[in-house]
Amino acid sequence: MFAEWLFAAFSILAVLGGIGLVTFRHPMNSAMSLVVTMISLAGLYALLSAKLIFAIQLIVYAGAIMSLIIFIIMFLNVRTEDLPEEKGRFLYLFGGVVVLAPVFFFLKKIIQSIPATKATILGDGFGGIKEVGLVLFKDWLLPFEIVSILLLVALVGAVVLAGKRRMSK
């Protein structure tokens, strides 16, 4: 019962955060809303007994990535006048909702067609570092390596893009 209440609270928070993200005009406000969503999601992960992911969500996502984003926003020192006008954004949002409604209802339909399963009691080890690690390095070794290469490429790319360059004319 307690779990249901937690789920309801976290999901309402997550949705509210998401709505805030897309409606606030200043990116700093949006970023803060996104942090709320991230943390709620971390709570949901915990509810799903994903211990490792819960931790990583908090540390990497809500922590590292979000602080990077906020750092950039502050670095750019965006003032309200510099922001795009976006006068009709609520109109756009409404239009977007209309367009997306079929997608939502379609997915909802599919989801409801999935046979309902009761959550079973899991063993202690589920979602722990060791267990996930074993799966990761046994079954998913190649994708893991590829992802690491991707990260490397991204690193180099970021350096090349953002790094100072001599103006070549």
Binding site: S11, A14, G18, I19, L21, V22, R25, P27, S30, A31, L34, T37, L41, Y45, L48, S49, A50, L52, V60, Y61, I65, L68, I69, I72, I73, L76, V78, D82, L83, P84, R89, L93, G96, L100, V103, F104, K108, I111, I114, A116, T117, K118, A119, L122, F126, E131, V132, V135, L136, D139, W140, V147, S148, L150, L151, V153, L155, G157, L161, A162
Partner: protein
């Protein structure tokens, strides 16, 4: 039970799409994409829980790694764009016009 998680995931995903298509601020568009990735993660974790297999966790991990890589690159691009145009408006960058 699982349906609730999945529907939440869909809702978040749709909100993300809304942000991408309706906002002109580069940073908000970017954060909307992050939101979509998170929504996907939620679906992974939920499936993982109910199928009692940890492959979903691994995938979520990978998505996070990709998200991190994306964040690094995207933010670099944002900085670059801001340097060039001094603006964060996506509509300024319309070089693809045919």
């Amino acid at each position: 039970m699982i349906q609730n998680y999945l529907i939440l995931s869909v809702i978040l995903f749709c909100i993300g799409i809304l942000g991408v298509v309706s906002r002109r601020n580069v940073l908000i568009v970017f954060m909307s994409i992050e939101l979509m990735l998170n929504a996907a993660n939620l679906a992974f974790i939920a499936f993982s829980r109910f199928h009692e297999s940890m492959d979903g966790h691994v995938l979520a991990l990978m998505v996070m790694a990709v998200a991190a890589a994306e964040a690094a690159l995207a933010l670099a691009v944002v900085i670059l764009l801001h340097k060039h145009k001094g603006k964060l408006d996506t509509d300024v960058f319309s070089l693809l016009k045919g």
